[in-house]
Symmetry: C2
Subunit: 149 residues, 2 copies
DNA sequence: TATTGTTATACTCTATAACTATA
DNA sequence: TATAGTTATAGAGTATAACAATA
């Protein structure tokens, strides 16, 4: 018989399940994780140049070109001319793109409520605090690892 | 100013951070996530045929062919003849592969301990219970969604 | 000279379909 | 006939490098 799963195991399991759940909800709408991520980022930081999006997403500018191409083709974003720099485009959500992000946000809120309700009422505050602490610790670990390579 | 992050947001953040951390630790060793997943699976379920690995990993047999090819080339696994079915191979870890999995397991244990220690001592039990409840809920949600498509 | 986005090229992971050798 | 694994082909996501237009 196996030992009890560690916190790491469980968090990995959560990651896999979230990924599975997200992909499942996105697929019928013809949107991949990477494209949704770009859509989501544009929604949250506002219309930006492809360079800025590349930085925000942590991928190369070339990669953003491909993702924006696909999202333009599917009608979720448009490339608008940059007001002061004729080399650059400003990537902006269409109504369709905005509606899509709003729907996704609503579903996230639903899932969030369900997940929190699945936690015993007396454990909820401690769980929430613990989760925040874990996020902090992971962020710090990664920052440290990147600063001293 | 943004509202406080939801449980969903935080779990997604954890997923992204874990992914980042794992990729970072694997890259210098020349192992991708997908290959490590196969290695890990062989370690946990024991030497298996490629068909069985495909089922365990939730990918196509063709995909397993490619991953095993790469892991054979890097010396982490070998294809042994199946004792009773001459069509099949049994994928087995080499010493190098086993050593690698052991190292990864040790690092996971370390990370797990660090993460749990980052949670306030009084919150730890509730956090652990809450995490288990969330995993259960996610698994149930996905199972339900797959049974009634 | 430096930056923005693109073309060119390549690699990994993934999938489906057709094929070979065995069962 | 059915199964195990492979070849053939395709597509998404990612990367680097070289190049055009513009800053």
């Amino acid at each position: 018989m196996d030992a009890a799963p560690t916190v790491f195991d469980q968090l990995q399991r959560v990651a896999a399940l979230l990924d599975h759940d997200l992909s499942r909800s996105l697929e019928p709408l013809g949107l991949s994780r990477a494209r949704m991520h770009l859509l989501w980022t544009v929604h949250h930081v506002g219309p930006r140049s492809q360079q800025q999006l590349a930085t925000a997403l942590g991928v190369t500018p070339r990669n953003v070109t491909g993702l924006v191409d696909a999202l333009v083709a599917s009608g979720h974003v448009v490339r608008a001319p940059h007001p002061s720099d004729r080399r650059a485009f400003v990537v902006t959500l269409t109504d369709s793109g905005s509606g899509f992000v709003a729907e996704a946000a609503a579903e996230h809120a639903r899932t969030s409520r369900d997940l929190l309700e699945s936690v015993d009422a007396g454990d909820r505050d401690a769980f929430t605090r613990g989760l925040a602490a874990v996020v902090d610790r992971l962020e710090r670990t990664i920052r440290d690892a990147e600063q001293a390579p």
